[in-house]
Amino acid sequence: MKIDFRVTNPIATSIPLDYKIYKQQQEQQKQNEQQQTISVPVTTTSEPIKKRTNRSEEQFRQIFMKTGVVSQASGSAYIEIENTKVICSVHGPRASPKTELFESAKFSCELKFASFARPGERIDYMESAKEKDLSINLRQSIIGAIRLEKYPKTVIDVYVMVLNDDGGVLVAAITAASMALADAGVEMYDMVSACSSICIRNQSISNGSNGSGSGNGSSGAAPKVQSSILLDPTLQEEESKDSLGCVVVAKMPSLNEITQIIQTGELSYNNTIDGIDLCIDGCDKIYSIMKQNLISSLEKQVSKKLE
């Protein structure tokens, strides 16, 4: 089919084709680069993965959890996974302004990044597509655990604020939201715990010194890539160029049901299954930590009342 490209499809360019302006831009860019060497490193994507020093490949980072941190909310929780800091508050179940008859509660989740949360530029307050996507994923992870039919004609809102992003934001958000809902006294089938893992390309391919590498790469015509799976990645590991893909799993451990699974990147079938299995084990371990924290905070509340 003949297309007269000139008339109907002008190619838009954003680079001026005038020589002088182009030269000026070049000089400006060089100046900016010189200034930027003083500021904080902008991004981590082009760097290779740093080998883990303080923990093994299948070990979590240190987790700190506390509930009841926001006085105005029905329930709240604060989670720190080393440098990732997330706070979650739950409002509801409360009456909705709309008089529609819902047979079950209306459940909505909102996740926001603080402007200073990520390395690099300041995050605009307008909701970006990434935040909307994380909100949707968060909602889908927890909605299966809440007994919505117990609260007809009400609205339950979950607000998550990410104060510092060092990898595992969705994991922290899901865990915080479950704790906050339990703190608020909302009826649930089980708490939801989440875990993430990434599959990385090993640097030392030839000597076979791949540590605890598990699973080989794709089959068929593609060359075999030695890969290994890391649990609970940091931001640097998640965004490095050696990362082949990432898996996030959210699970209700007592019922043994997976409520959310997200995988990005291109992974072979075996790597995917290994990643999912590792995450499922991780979820169970995080669940026990969640339970301990909840019970200790309940004990504190009871002891306060007795005073």
Partner: protein, 282 residues
């Protein structure tokens, strides 16, 4: 066609059918409905396709422009996805009603096609660090009959196969500047390599079993959904779960395996037909 909610006995009927491996229209659990692809219908777009999968009707158009590449990936072009569900597909998509589902669909496409790095974006680079092609992929859902995720990805893949970009000639100008010229010749155009482009395979659990390519009424009885991106190499390019219910780990393994098998079948058939019609040059 408006998809109505179903009565409990209809839901039970469909669930029993799925258990018996015989769905309402006679398909087995892993059968796909036949679909039609119309390619190259939109002359103003560099690539376009239309997919009709039973009642689902989607139009995909691709536009291109040139700009500087992302400084983090100087050798690659970029893709931008957007999906728009028209109110014609369902009255609930009017106004802001479709916002949620538009983002979900666009994000899943982005996750599977862009984030997985499965597609070779190096072919979109004109001059490393200076110029590259940006493709804007826009999909319109005109009618919905279930299984939007899969239909969108197949439509986008076909549109990418149909994409023809003008060849660029790079010239050395005065004062050692490097300039480029867009060729005017409508015959000399380059096409894209769609070998690495994955497609989505959506599996929905109904009762204790899962099915591929659910119709509109089956979507009303679904418990949970897993959308899995599969490419020609047999690798998994993106998974997202939807729906309220949970799935146990064993079923997830089976679903991923089934998606891999169904996905590679579809990709094989699609590539053969595209080749026969000389749409894909490879």
């Amino acid at each position: 066609m408006v998809i109505q909610s179903l009565s409990p006995s209809e839901i039970y009927f469909i669930q029993q059918g799925v258990e018996n491996n015989l769905r309402n229209d006679g398909r087995t659990r892993l059968d796909y409905r036949p679909f039609e692809l119309d390619i190259g219908e939109i002359s103003h777009a560099v690539g376009s396709s239309r997919i009709i999968l039973a009642d689902t009707h989607i139009l995909v158009g691709i536009k291109a422009d040139i700009s500087a590449p992302d400084p983090l990936t100087p050798n690659k072009g970029s893709l931008t996805f957007s999906v728009d569900c028209c109110p014609s597909a369902s009255p609930e998509y009017e106004g802001k009603g479709a916002d949620y589902i538009n983002i979900e669909l666009a994000k899943q496409l982005e996750r599977v096609m862009k984030d997985s790095n499965s597609m070779d974006l190096g072919g979109l680079c004109i001059m490393p660090g200076k110029y590259c092609w940006n493709l804007y992929i826009d999909a319109i859902v005109l009618d919905s009959g279930g299984n939007l995720f899969d239909a969108l990805s197949i439509g986008v893949r076909a549109a990418l196969a149909n994409t023809r970009l003008p060849t660029i000639r790079i010239t050395q100008g005065e004062y050692s500047t490097v300039d480029f010229e867009v060729s005017d010749d409508p015959e000399a155009m380059q096409s894209l390599d769609i070998d690495g482009v994955p497609i989505n395979v959506t599996l929905t659990t109904i009762g204790n079993q899962f099915v591929v390519d659910c119709s509109g009424e089956e979507e009303q009885c679904m418990d949970a959904r897993m959308t899995i991106g599969v490419n020609k190499r047999g690798n998994i390019c993106g998974i997202q779960k939807g729906g309220v219910a949970g799935i146990d780990a064993h079923t997830i393994n089976q679903m991923i395996l089934a998606a891999k098998q169904v996905g590679s079948e579809i990709l094989k058939t699609m590539d053969n037909v595209l080749k026969d019609h000389h749409i894909a040059t490879k």
